[in-house]
Symmetry: C2
Subunit: 560 residues, 2 copies
């Protein structure tokens, strides 16, 4: 038989280290079988229940501290609960050995004026306030705290972007600035690979693996997991790519993230292309659009991202001379459904918005297969078109009509199509398509460029004569590729935007200075800063009005 | 000024070649500016409208033939419409030079008894009936027709599976059997690569590229695009993998498809593992789970699939000795959110169902993060768990409790976890986790195996001493990997099912015989069969009751 006793402390603030230590203290008491010390949020209550530590009679609010003890007897349970205050007081003395411990950010700044960084790991509901204060003081922010609202994140990042400051986070686990790890970071050699990490352990796995392979890190800049959502618009990632592009020490950039929103992906890919440095991209859980697009390399795993970043160092970048057609639209007219689908895979990250009657994700669905919108890839062999009609690989009529329709749209800059040779197919597709292409070129009234790009699938043994099909197309000025992959690389580059993302650039010199930082929150982060040889000040932080939210709101209003 | 005239022919059947020829004939007449000849389906009406060929006054049913002519004058429009009958009659005489043209499948079988294959390209609404007749006659079916219902596809394939026959399609564009292309197929060298293609032009692009690279094809078996949906269950793909596994000439298999349903993917991957041959898999538009898992290689493009298939020929396959634990479940307990997510990427294809509190697709969402279901990957550092609690990279309490919880479930066969070292992290995670693992091992009452697998992220310069962390884990019998990728390969192999998919095997000898086929539908497919040197008979097919559906249904009922 075990007995459960509990104690509720309303509205009091304790940091998570204190709670952990109290729980361990209780577990060490005689007769105690288990103990739980948590803020009584629904999730934490569920966790207690899962551990058989939540009697039905317990009532507590999410802001309350809930202490539960399971013991062998009534007496030992009572005794344990009775010792809570003593255990809280006995809390092992701080590891921070500062002579003077400032109680505010501004106090800490006076103590360490050269600090350019503020590390924040206070509970989520207080974190945005501390971060804003840090930005107002002109400091970059490493925001470890989670449970920060999206609205706060957006506001903080917009403010920081104006001031040329970085907000890494919220929920940013990892960064390495000028050789010093912030938050959770592996000890790695300095080197020429810069990392932009929208994922904490992703950055750790990649930087650690780079180190193992003999490579090194210039800076690893965290963004927080939501930075690449369209609401935030990858503000931090854009700042990070820009500052790493300007950093002479950085020769290669690795960009690691969960799949970004499509429009964000497109902007980021453009920005990565604009760095003029090799960029290894790994969008985790997203089909790789290609192995390479110009200066970009796409990885399919964290370890491969590290391997590519180390290998790619001395890559000589090709440059394209033609001016891109990024303000215009692509229209793909395919007879092969799979080729159309693979084109979508290759383009969905770099062209947005893109639609298709064979979409990969539902939001890419083209409402009316007969009418292209923005960038569109049409599978003309889809069932929709096929009742009582020959397949477009046999009869070119449908495609010829659609080509003319697309060419009449002044916003169209490129028409992409496939030519599939072989048994069963039309005996001379190029012979039927080329006159139309010439006619379109002659008749086009709009001044904008119209490029034609073809993917020719076939073998030299096919009945159509592969070589002559290719020549006829090329003679008509059609750019011919022999695989979707090669064609998609070309198309992506032609549409890559040179439009710059607008923001106040981050001061590169601040990144290059010996890192000095102010720590607000977990003391262990202060410890690891000093153990790495960085100058640091720890703030003896307490929540405003001792955690009383109403009072804190009042105080904040009075300060304005 | 142009004039539009039209003509509607109710309920008449014409094949698509006739319609194309009629349209071209009309376009060649004096004064005709444009013409459309279509079955009046909504899609085709829209197409006419898009080409300004559909006056509002036109009324026609989907089964009606609609002939529209746009001409310079009333007279030339009238004249053109007036010539429709003549043009239909003038239709260029058939290219089929058979002395005797059977009007039925059974008649064709009498003429060419050795034919094992029936190619069907009649309109969708008639195709299932012809296919069933072919199966009843014991023939494999190449079903080019589209617009066949999913129900018909399922019924046909189940019937075929019982009889050991293949139904390639519906909407199957391409196959190569014993050197002869069916439907649309490139002329490629014979060789040792077998292809299973759930996509038409995908198979063409891969086989053509293999040929270009000097490789060759044993057989390329099409399945139709819906075969890998869970409703159909990849019946044809399973039959194809099995027959290619048994075929001595096939040394490597390439499996090309749009993303299959998760449960289908899992079964197919198991079947591919069971072939005992190297299998190159390309699930188009799906993130590659890895570069390799045992005998499987994953490609990220059609051209890469071809390249891998050619390269992999002389690969020596590793064999695992341990018996798999496929009847049990995996539980992954991660401190790193990105590592958890990458684990999902690596496992979602080969383990199903799999759930997570950090799902890739919504259907993988774990309802209650506190309760695992089936295979589950839990990110214990998720915000949900983090209010008032230290991160699991600092405090192991949450993970230890969850490990015990998972171990108490007799259906759990493996616990996977990460150990992330570095600044900021717990100074001895292995030291805290190993005693728990030992305790679980000692106390576990259920007889089933319980494996522990760890991913250790860190460098030899990290404060925790990487090597000793690894040793402590390994000494406790934990299988340790240094990257998610390697760990996921191991996990996939441990859970790979040896359960055989049940069906009557396809007769391999029939595939090896010189191909002889009966063609029902497009004459051009007959032409290409004979031009490739295959024996073929073309059926002079007409729809039952000349396309009158009611009559056809009556006739079918009378036959029963």
């Amino acid at each position: 038989m075990t007995v459960i006793k509990w104690n509720v402390r309303a509205g009091a603030y304790y940091d998570s280290v204190v709670l952990m230590q109290l729980q361990r203290g209780l577990l060490g008491l005689p007769g105690v079988a288990d103990a739980g010390v948590v803020m009584a949020t629904p999730a934490n209550r569920d966790l207690l229940a899962a551990n058989n530590l939540l009697p039905e009679a317990v009532t507590a609010n999410p802001d309350d501290l809930l202490i539960v003890v399971k013991a062998e007897s009534d007496a030992s349970a009572e005794a344990a609960i009775g010792q809570v205050d003593e255990l809280l007081a006995r809390r092992k003395s701080s590891s921070v050995s500062q002579d003077f411990r400032p109680r505010s950010l501004s106090g800490a700044v006076k103590q360490l004026p050269e600090a350019n960084w503020v590390l924040i790991s206070v509970p989520g509901r207080y974190a945005a306030g501390v971060a804003r204060e840090a930005l107002e003081l002109g400091k970059h922010v490493f925001l470890y705290s989670d449970n920060v609202s999206l609205e706060d994140e957006i506001a903080l990042k917009k403010f920081a972007r104006e001031k040329g400051l970085l907000v890494m986070g919220p929920d940013c686990g990892t960064a390495i600035i000028n050789g010093i790890g912030l938050g959770f970071a592996n000890r790695v050699r300095r080197g020429n690979i810069g990392v932009v990490g929208a994922s904490g352990t992703g950055t750790q796995a990649v930087t650690a693996h780079i180190h193992e392979l003999g490579g090194g890190i210039s800076h690893a800049i965290g963004t927080g997991g939501r930075d690449l959502k369209s609401e935030v618009g990858a503000i931090t990632a854009h700042q990070a790519l820009d500052v790493l592009a300007r950093d002479d020490q950085t020769k290669v950039i690795a960009l690691i993230s969960k799949p970004p929103s499509p429009n964000v992906a497109t902007q980021l890919i453009s920005a990565a292309q604009g760095t003029g440095k090799p960029v290894v991209i790994y969008f985790i859980g997203y089909p790789a659009p290609a192995r390479k697009i110009g200066n970009l390399r796409f990885a399919i795993s964290l370890s491969e991202a590290a391997e590519l970043a180390v290998k790619i160092g001395d890559l000589r970048l090709e440059t394209t001379k033609k001016s891109p057609i990024s303000s215009l639209y692509l229209r793909g007219l395919f007879s092969g459904g799979t080729l159309a689908f693979e084109a979508m895979v290759g383009l969905q990250a770099s062209l947005s918005p893109i639609y298709s009657n064979g979409p990969i994700t539902p939001n890419q669905n083209l409402k009316d297969p007969l009418k292209s919108e923005a960038h569109s890839i049409i599978d003309l062999g889809d069932e929709f078109f096929m009742v009582g009609r020959l397949h477009p690989m046999i009869d070119n009529d449908l495609r010829i009509r659609r080509m003319k329709q697309e060419a009449a749209d002044p916003e169209v800059g490129m028409i992409l199509f496939d030519v599939v040779l072989g048994e069963g197919s039309h005996i001379d597709p190029a012979g039927e398509l080329v006159p139309v292409i010439k006619e379109i070129r002659e008749q086009r009234l709009v001044t904008s460029d119209l490029e034609f790009v073809a993917i020719v699938i076939g073998t030299s043994d096919d009945p159509q004569n592969l070589q002559s099909q290719v020549s006829v197309l090329e003679d008509a000025g059609v750019k011919v590729f022999r695989s979707t992959t090669e064609a998609m690389e070309y198309v992506s580059l032609r549409f890559s935007s040179k439009k710059k993302y607008e923001f106040t650039p981050v001061n590169l010199e601040q990144l290059k200075q010996s890192l000095a930082a102010i720590n607000v929150g977990l003391e262990s982060f202060y410890d690891s800063l000093t153990s790495q040889g960085a100058q640091a000040v720890h703030v003896e932080w307490k929540p405003p009005a001792s955690g009383n939210e109403k009072m804190a709101t009042l105080l904040a209003k009075m300060r304005k």
